[in-house]
Symmetry: C2
Subunit: 202 residues, 2 copies
DNA sequence: ACTATTTCTTGATGCAGTTCATTGGAGAGA
DNA sequence: TCTCTCCAATGAACTGCATCAAGAAATAGT
């Protein structure tokens, strides 16, 4: 495969993703291919660092990213994991063009397709269909975020862990437990006790 | 004022809201006036009841709504309050056309402008500008939801209460404390203790 | 293959927040 | 005016989860 073919093969999953919402014509496909740039991040590399303005909207082709905040006591709180075919970006910082309080980094070597703020506006202007596509995309993100908030307000750590196993099962063996604990909002020690308790049961 | 004038005066805040995103032409204003219907809900009246499909997207003209879940133990957990110039609807149920797990009801007599699912699709088709307007609207909701999740993961009840006072100050005296406690994810008793502690300080 | 670093487990102790029960106050309705 | 119901306050006992500490197991770097 030459360089062009490699890029094309990476852009496929993105085009497929869009076409699940609305079919695209060739001009629109062309536009996507031009405006989204592939980029590789190495494990532990920052995609977005606190204080910077988030300037890229990221679609994950393969690998895994996390978005998190570090609080005053130095604890990290993970807001979101993103793996293949998911989107990740600090939407607030991206749209309001103001410094991010959140970090994004790679938990594995990760290939993304990213579009800059400027090019996304260009995309909206040249192909208004994408206004709708991104509306739907954000509606979906909103719904899962709302589910998660509900979980956090209304459930114990054990219930949250179990529903994480349900909803994120592929990640369970892919991530270190410290990361999962930080996503659930508990200490790694307590997660260890929960797991211990559950294995004893079965 | 005759009936038409009353409706017109109610539609103003909605048009203003839209025009903060993009200016509307007269056809578009006309469309909004036709497709959004005013409706009054009495205190304690349901706007959406668990098990029903959410069929209305609501803009609050005056009054106050809440959206909440009742868990297995019978506790209510408030996901969102909405007052003047805010939107409220169960977006998941609304778009996926499936039964709601959440309830929406009125904490005060509340006037809303509501658009049905069918008419919203009509609006998108006849005036694609609204694809963008609703994308922006949901982006904003997403950002505040994300802030709230972060708060919940990373702060103590006292910190959450204080930041509620900051962000929702107009509501503090407007709502009973049980409602605020249920929004913060704590018991009314514990909220009472927090308040007691804070008044002693000052 | 060896060390260094990170990750997981387990115990002891402490605290934030819950639960249950009781009391007092305030608004709504007859 | 007198209930009746709803809401706020407070005490005592309890529990879910954090913290600190220390050791074991796994991973990565050279």
């Amino acid at each position: 495969m030459n360089a062009d073919d490699i890029i094309k093969s990476q852009i496929e999953p993105l085009l497929n993703y869009f076409q699940k919402v609305i079919r695209l014509n060739n001009d629109e496909k062309q536009l996507v291919t031009e405006l989204f740039k592939p980029r590789l991040y190495r494990k532990r590399q920052y995609v977005l660092q606190e204080g910077d303005i988030c300037n890229q909207f990221n679609f994950i082709v393969r690998g895994c990213l996390r978005m998190y905040k570090i609080d005053d006591k130095g604890n990290t709180h993970i807001l979101q994991f993103a793996v293949e075919n998911w989107w990740l970006s600090n939407i607030g910082s991206f749209h309001e063009r103001k410094p991010s309080e959140l970090n994004i980094d790679a938990l594995e070597d990760t290939m993304v397709l990213q579009i800059s703020h400027e090019n996304l506006l260009l995309l909206y202007t040249n192909a208004p269909k994408f206004d709708r596509i991104f509306r739907v995309l954000i509606e979906n993100s909103f719904v899962s975020l709302q589910k998660r908030l509900l979980q956090n307000i209304s459930s114990t750590a054990e219930e949250r862990y179990n529903s994480f196993l349900d909803s994120h099962s592929p990640l369970t063996n892919r991530l270190p437990q410290t990361q999962i604990a930080s996503f659930l909002g508990i200490t790694p020690e307590f997660l260890s006790r929960l797991r211990n308790k559950q294995t004893k049961k079965s």
